[in-house]
């Protein structure tokens, strides 16, 4: 059997990138990756041979993220004090959103759309692999991808309006 380390190590950078894009916090993202790797190691023998290792790891990571998010919602989101936006302070310059902060715009999308755009657009997963990660049929993934891209475009185009609504 191949050494798990040799197979897993090369995938860590892309797991960290996906995790960071999901949680937008460097430490929390690495916690998520660590949990993912621990779980992968503990279930290594249960992994189906020939299955797509990357897709499997992304699935574990995403499920851990979703569970943690549900827990977070129950307990209230924890925002470090110095990162919490000060109420009443003028928000980020309009241009910031209008121009190119796609990552920030992505945060306004539901998790599923966000994951799709990241897995397909950034991690280069095949559509089939992305469908497996999200647990959806291929056809559904394609139409959701289409909707996600449309939503992202709209968020960026409407950036200013949305921002004003959010500040109000």
């Amino acid at each position: 059997m191949a050494d798990p380390g040799a197979l897993l190590e090369p995938l860590i950078p892309s797991l960290r990138r996906y995790a960071y894009a999901l949680v937008r916090d460097h430490d929390a993202a690495d916690d998520l990756v660590q949990d993912t790797l621990e779980r992968a190691l503990s279930r290594w023998l249960l992994r189906r041979d020939g299955g797509d290792l990357r897709a499997w790891l992304f699935t574990i990571l995403r499920n851990l993220h979703i569970n943690a998010y549900r827990r977070g919602r129950r307990q209230g989101t924890h925002v470090p004090f110095d990162l919490a936006p000060m109420p009443g302070t003028p928000a980020t310059q309009d241009s910031a959103l209008e121009t190119r902060d796609v990552l920030a715009a992505l945060d306004q999308l539901p998790e599923e759309q966000k994951s799709l755009l990241l897995l397909v657009g950034v991690e280069d997963l095949s559509y089939e692999a992305a469908a497996r990660v999200l647990g959806l049929p291929l056809g559904t993934v394609m139409s959701r991808l289409s909707r996600a891209r449309q939503k992202l475009r709209t968020v960026l185009e409407m950036g200013r309006a949305t921002l004003l609504r959010r500040v109000k």
């Binding site: 960290r16 190691l41 657009g121």
Partner: protein
């Protein structure tokens, strides 16, 4: 103008176009379709630009050196340490059980045949009850989505239901003096019968359970303390039922709670026929 090849262009192909995953004939078909639909073409090109920008924004993250704690060798070392800890805990429980059974047997031989039956029945039954309680504690204390089956909001229903299933009037003792609030409870299988688990939590979210089940041992026993890993339990048998209070707590912290529960139940047993809780 429509696509020149007979097969119409699909939504999936438009997405594949954005991702540059189309080749050959289908690419030509999509391009022809887009040439006739400049607005759509513009949208797809915008999607492609956003895709590129997003990749660019995240590229640095993937190029960072991997932190030491994420190296597989370190993660495996951590797991080995955990596994060793778990095995130690199992060994400790086995040791306690063997010591208990052995002690019981030794006591029995000392006291003659007449005592054998009570000794062998009593000792394992607290142990079994405690095992069940600790296993149930472990299972449901980490449960986030469904820690309890019936919520404390329906306390009256919960208590009535569990009392009926266990065939004994139960109460969910008020532990607010000790800082614990009732979360709810659930019914669990236990041996040939059932067990009731009441779950409490304190302000910090620390959980405590009260586990009650029928115990074969019958007669009363004193409080027994058992520590398994970080969980501590006080168990006792009273009038045919085993009671176990379990939490991640120090012995001294848990004892007054166990006493409060004991007193509360002693009270119910005496007054339950008339008392409306």
């Amino acid at each position: 103008m429509t696509a020149p090849t007979g097969i119409p262009v699909g939504e999936d192909e438009l997405q594949a176009y954005v991702d540059r995953r189309l080749t050959g004939e289908r690419l030509a078909a999509v391009e022809a379709h887009l040439a006739a639909n400049p607005d759509l073409h513009e949208q797809l090109l915008a999607d492609r630009r956003l895709r590129g920008t997003l990749r660019g924004q995240l590229e640095a993250k993937a190029n960072e050196p991997v932190p030491a704690r994420l190296r597989i060798a370190n993660i495996r070392a951590g797991r080995r340490a955990q596994l060793a800890g778990a095995l130690l805990r199992v060994a400790a429980v086995v040791a306690i059980f063997v010591a208990g059974a052995g002690g019981g047997w030794y006591a029995a031989t000392l006291q003659g045949p007449a005592r054998v039956q009570t000794a062998s029945l009593q000792t394992p039954s607290t142990a079994t009850v405690t095992q069940g309680a600790v296993a149930a504690y472990r299972t449901f204390v980490v449960e986030v989505a469904h820690p309890v089956e019936v919520d404390a909001k329906q306390e009256a229903h919960l208590v009535q239901w569990l009392s009926r299933r266990l065939g004994r009037p139960l109460v969910a003792p008020d532990l607010s003096q000790h800082g614990y609030k009732l979360m709810g409870g659930r019914l669990l299988p236990a041996g040939s019968g059932q067990a009731a688990q009441f779950m409490y939590d304190d302000q910090s979210g620390k959980r405590l359970t009260l586990y009650v089940r029928q115990a074969e041992g019958g007669s009363e026993t004193a409080f027994r303390f058992l520590r398994e890993g970080d969980t501590a339990s006080f168990a006792w048998i009273d009038q045919g039922f085993g009671f176990v209070v379990t939490s991640v707590a120090a012995r001294a912290e848990l004892l007054p709670i166990a006493e409060a529960v004991y007193l509360r139940f002693e009270h119910t047993e005496e007054t339950s026929p008339t008392r409306k809780n």
